[in-house]
Amino acid sequence: MNSFFKQLKKESDAIRLSTREREVMRLALEEAMRSRHLVKSPVHITPSPLLFFSHRLISSFAFVLVLAVVGSSTAYAAEAAVPGDVLYPVKVRVNEPLRAALALSSEAKAVWHTEAAERRMKEAEVLAARGTLTAEVKAGLEESFDTHATKVEAIVEAFGEEDPIVAADISTRLGSSIAAHSAVIARLGEGGENEESRGESRKLVRMLKERGKRIASAERGVSVKAERSASGEIAVRTFAKDAGTALTASITIRDSDAAIVARIERNASTTLEEAEAQFSAMKEKLDATTSQRTKTQISNIRGHIEKFREDDGKGSSEKEKIERALKDATTVKAFLEAQEKFEGHDLLPAFDVGENDDGDGDTEDEDIGTFPVAPTLPL
């Protein structure tokens, strides 16, 4: 069992593309496929005129046309639309189904649905900042968010058995994204003047957090051994439902724990790098105190990750630490992006980022267990 080559294989199996790297690469390839089509003139003289009319060619022309639509400026402009905008239907009815159709593997699908859920949260940010988040709009966003998040959960559950690493990767990513964006929405909603919008933001934030907890407990269900969970009945229900799979999974999964942790760590440091890049791009616009505090936050997170690396952390408690780092990095990044987008608002320094130096990071999380959900917000 412990043979050298098996171990070698296992060790090297941890070397893999992160979901994000994979997605970036996939996009580059799709891009290459697309540009090649578009560069080619449609009045291409083919050796055989019959070939020109073959079904395959015609269907591929249709494909190119669709891509051309998405590549067009309308579709591009629609990407920034929020509910209520003229272009919003283009975004959700044309662009997004197309993106979804391009995601072929389950992993790609999960990545896409995670992004779609993120998009809904980002739209809510814009509306909360404008103070136009009405009950109706909120309901729409919530529904769409829920659809996507549910799909991610379903895929993660299916993955849990065969590839716990990917499953953990995806669900921690969604979890940290929810934590990050709900904090941004809370911050933006708070400052709003419109009573209704403020109330709706608050409700939305509450819903998002519930969801975050649920994802976290489900994730723990698939990964690591079933631990005592204090996150209330939702978690209990998830466990009950998954009891069968969780049990079989926990046997095979212990081996992959290290790989899961390695992957989350990689995600955390990539995200942090992105946050840093964003920060250095907008540093001049920030005042000295804010800039300094953000810098400290970033270097704190870096410290956590580095310490983690030195400790060569393995096992479940270590996993919480690195998840926390990932969530913090995501939060800082989300706040930086939001600050860039909503110039009139003072959002920084990022909110709800663990500033406690090390420790087990759990103390401020009250009893919600491993998932780093924001403590109650000062609303």
């Binding site: 412990n2 043979s3 050298f4 080559f5 098996k6 171990q7 070698l8 294989k9 296992k10 060790e11 090297s12 199996d13 070397i15 893999r16 593309l17 790297e21 994979r22 690469m25 996939r26 580059a28 390839l29 290459a32 496929m33 090649r36 089509h37 395959r56 060619l57 269907s59 591929s60 494909f63 072929l104 593997s105 992993e107 790609a108």
Partner: protein, 174 residues
């Protein structure tokens, strides 16, 4: 064209990780491995888009990646060609070892703890690292490796044997 692209997409989903794994064991840094993996897929894509025939994508991808890595070594200042080709056994005739020896050595290797193997493999001259990675990390057969690197199966198995011996040396010295 759509069919080709479809199978290309599938090939990407299926083989991206293993190619990346191979590249990162052969190159000093992860980012470069990432770039070369992408470059490898783009190259193959361009090739099939030109209408050239590729019978099986996986070996083709591996071969392309191999060439990219060789190019990398050629232009690289950080590592030398010597390091890649180094073979201090000098005069030994490669065919003087039988394939069976490899199996015996494999058994002997099993006494070592494999958890540091990835690190140890990185210390080997690339010539051995290449075949060992292909064999034990990417699970390619002798036959496949031989086709990939354009050497006879015998040469491959000798190289594996020497690589394993060196690997054992590294592990013992630690």
């Amino acid at each position: 064209m759509k069919d080709i692209e479809q199978s290309f997409r599938e090939a990407f989903e299926r083989h991206a990780d293993e190619l990346f794994r191979h590249a990162s064991l052969r190159l000093p840094d992860r980012d470069r491995a990432l770039e070369l993996t992408q470059e490898c897929f783009l190259k193959v894509l361009r090739y099939v888009q030109r209408g050239e025939e590729v019978r099986e994508l996986r070996p083709f991808l591996f071969r392309t990646l191999r060439n990219l890595i060789i190019d990398e070594y050629r232009k690289g200042k950080s590592f030398s060609l010597d390091a890649m080709l180094e073979d201090d056994d000098g005069g030994t005739i490669e065919s003087d070892l039988l394939r069976d020896d490899t199996d015996e050595l494999e058994n002997a290797m099993d006494r070592y703890d494999g958890s540091r193997a990835v690190l140890a493999i990185r210390k080997l001259p690339d010539m051995y690292r290449e075949v060992l990675t292909m064999r034990y990390v990417n699970d390619l057969s002798l036959q496949e490796i031989s086709a990939l690197i354009g050497e006879s199966e015998n040469v491959v198995s000798v190289r594996l044997h020497r690589g394993l011996k060196k690997l054992r040396g590294i592990l013992e010295s630690e």
